[in-house]
């Protein structure tokens, strides 16, 4: 699929938004402003962005504990997300979910998920609904390399294949599940190798490369929309921060992240490609960056100023009717 200037600018804005969102949370967390467990997506922006560029409001995604990038790429409101992460009443989940449970069903974002492997079955269901209701929608399930070994994920590959569901499994292989290497935990060379055992195409791409991710996803989404069933896409990528904020990361090689940041950063690479090809001007990128930063500043300020939930909120939202 040819990317227009507008597409590229949108992609850039999304990647930059995710990056700055996470960089800012990293600082706010260290300052003790953010409660709970926070898993940052910095470094993996090209994946969520490249995938979600193909999706519209008919389409659904399921996410993981590391969900901020997926949310932003799927169109969740930045202010609402920030407020949620700060536990405020105007958060996307009224302060009841927090970082690990941000959702916006109206945007087709079925929720970050605190359960590794929680998402893939749900994505099968969203895809089934699209199929039965004839919406033309697809479902995408983001799963980590750790989550790729969870039985729920493996079962879902099978289910999606036998029902020929419009479902795409995106394995975000960032090399680690917490402090454990994907090579130790996963018996396979590439996770994409597992696809053939479930009768679906599997492809491995460089998750630092927005263009590569965008291309293979385009193919998979077309396949799905045409009724030709699921695809497994493995994106090899890196996370820039610890498993969660507070992780000392002694299991990583010295300078591992530094080297990647310097040589393979998805945003820097995108900037280079987009400007050198003449598609986007450096000034446009700078302008976008400025806007993004301002938006994040604003979101954080609003989130900090926002009201906390009140006692009465504890008991609401358990049931629609009880």
């Amino acid at each position: 699929m040819q990317l227009s200037r507008a597409d590229l600018l949108k992609a850039y804005r999304t990647m930059k938004m995710i990056r700055e969102f996470e960089e800012r949370l990293h600082i706010e967390f260290a300052a003790g402003e953010v409660p709970g467990f926070v898993h940052l997506y910095a470094g993996e922006e090209a994946v969520a962005t490249g995938v979600c560029m193909h999706l519209d409001d008919r389409d659904k995604i399921t996410s993981t504990h590391r969900g901020h990038g997926h949310c932003l790429a799927k169109g969740c409101d930045v202010d609402g997300m920030m407020a949620e992460i700060f536990g405020k009443t105007n958060g996307l989940c009224a302060g009841k979910g927090g970082s690990m449970h941000i959702a916006d069903l109206s945007k087709g974002m079925l929720g970050a998920n605190g359960i590794v492997g929680g998402g893939p079955p749900l994505a099968c269901g969203a895809a089934l609904a699209a199929k039965k209701l004839g919406t033309g929608g697809v479902a995408v399930s983001f799963v980590g390399d750790g989550g790729a070994n969870q039985g729920t994920t493996l079962e879902s590959l099978n289910l999606a294949a036998i029902w020929s569901l419009p479902c795409i499994f995106v394995i975000e292989n960032n090399g680690y599940a917490e402090s454990t290497s994907c090579k130790y935990a996963g018996a396979c060379h590439d996770f994409a190798d597992r696809a053939s055992g479930f009768n679906m195409p599997g492809v491995t791409v460089d998750g630092h490369d927005f263009f590569a991710v965008h291309e293979v996803t385009g193919e998979a989404v077309r396949r799905a929309r045409m009724g030709n069933g699921p695809t497994l896409i493995e994106c090899k990528v890196n996370r820039y921060y610890g498993h969660f904020e507070g992780d000392a990361q002694t299991y990583r090689a010295r300078d591992e992240v530094k080297t990647i940041r310097e040589t393979r950063d998805c945003i820097a690479n995108f900037e280079k490609k987009a400007t050198s090809s003449g598609m986007l001007a450096a000034s446009e990128l700078q302008e976008t960056s400025r806007e993004v930063l301002a938006q994040i500043d604003d979101a954080v300020a609003k989130a900090k100023a926002a009201a906390r939930p009140g006692a009465a909120d504890l008991l609401t939202h358990v049931y629609v009717s009880y």
């Binding site: 009841k96 749900l122 269901g125 969203a126 209701l133 879902s156």
Partner: protein, 337 residues
């Protein structure tokens, strides 16, 4: 005389009528049709006991056989429920919850709350429970106490064909996730059931029998034992009130409390194993909110704290029976402070 059908037929009819009424209702589970991909007949099974048989013939691919991948297909039902369908998914035996519980416990049950009230998850999980088929430890459990424990779930345990139909239709129309427990030994019992669709609201217990001496609270198959016991006791001049909870969550606290306030005596009959079960739940409720009325210790008639045995001798002993219920009531009556 009005129409008598079995509980099995009542369940099947409820499913068929709701599928007829609402195109978004789908049915899925292992062998719910049966015959998928084979060279023989389709709609060959309707589950191992034939409960859903005929639905595929009426509704075609809205009735979907699944692989033996409960996490994936129960989870798919959850995902479909938040995406515009109203799935009725069958977890063949509730004993199998252990391979898919996460999708119920952490996904379906919690979406609405975690997402700040923005999710609606109109899901029904139908499942078989209970002992009596000589099916041994992994196919005979009740386990509804575990589901009742989980905020966000509704739990329905019908005892009659009439209730099964009305409660199942309510479950399908309900916008919260509902776990619907069907006792294997009740499928063949027959009772009066109107042909037209109707609903029975959740959280409204049924006074199966009014009485003034003692309250027997029961659910599911145990309601019948309670009634039998009450009938036997009536001949001894002991007048029991029998309450069928119908749903354990929501719980009709008021009916239980009212009755206990009237009779002053409580016996709870629960087929589940005895720790942290519905019997303790109801007893604790009375001990907390109807204490002043209590004239005697609460009694609980339950299974023992053992897995369900295979041997018929042992299983018959394992399952509460009307005699034990009657004995518990008599003890309660005999109690002198």
């Amino acid at each position: 005389m009005s129409r008598q059908i079995s509980l099995q037929q009542a369940v099947n009819e409820a499913l068929a009528q709701e599928m007829e009424r609402d195109k978004t209702v789908i049915v899925m589970g292992e062998d719910v049709a049966g015959g998928s991909g084979t060279q023989g007949e389709m709609d060959a099974w309707g589950g191992p006991l034939g409960i859903t048989k005929g639905l595929w013939s009426k509704f075609g691919d809205r009735v979907m056989d699944t692989p033996i991948s409960e996490s994936a297909f129960v989870g798919a039902a959850v995902g479909a429920a938040v995406s515009g369908l109203r799935p009725v998914v069958e977890l063949m035996f509730v004993d199998f919850m252990g391979v898919c519980f996460d999708q119920i416990l952490n996904q379906a049950a919690k979406f609405r709350y975690m997402f700040g009230g923005k999710a609606v998850t109109p899901l029904v999980v139908r499942t078989m429970y209970g002992a009596g088929l000589r099916a041994a430890a992994q196919h005979s459990q009740c386990l509804y106490p575990m589901f009742t424990h989980v905020p966000g779930l509704k739990c329905v345990v019908p005892s009659t064909p009439y209730d099964a139909k009305g409660l199942l239709i309510q479950a399908i129309r309900d916008n919260d996730p509902v776990i619907f427990f069907e006792h294997k030994l009740l499928y063949s019992i027959r009772g009066e059931v109107p042909e037209e669709p109707y609903t029975i609201p959740f959280g409204e217990a049924n006074f199966v029998r009014e009485g003034s001496d003692a309250t027997i609270v029961a659910l599911g198959r145990m309601v019948h034992l309670a009634s039998d016991a009450a009938q036997a006791l009536a001949q001894e001049g002991i007048d029991c009130e029998v309450i069928d909870l119908r749903t354990t969550s929501p719980l009709d606290e008021d009916s239980v409390l009212e009755s206990v306030e009237k009779t002053g005596r409580l016996v709870v009959v629960d087929e589940a194993s005895p720790r942290c079960n519905i019997a303790t739940d109801i007893a604790a409720l009375a001990g907390q909110k109807a204490f002043a009325s209590l004239k005697a210790p609460m009694a609980m008639v339950t299974a023992p704290h053992t897995p369900v045995p295979f041997s018929d001798v042992l299983e018959d002993q394992y399952i509460p029976d009307a005699k034990r219920v009657a004995a518990a009531v008599r003890d309660t009556m005999r109690y002198k402070a």
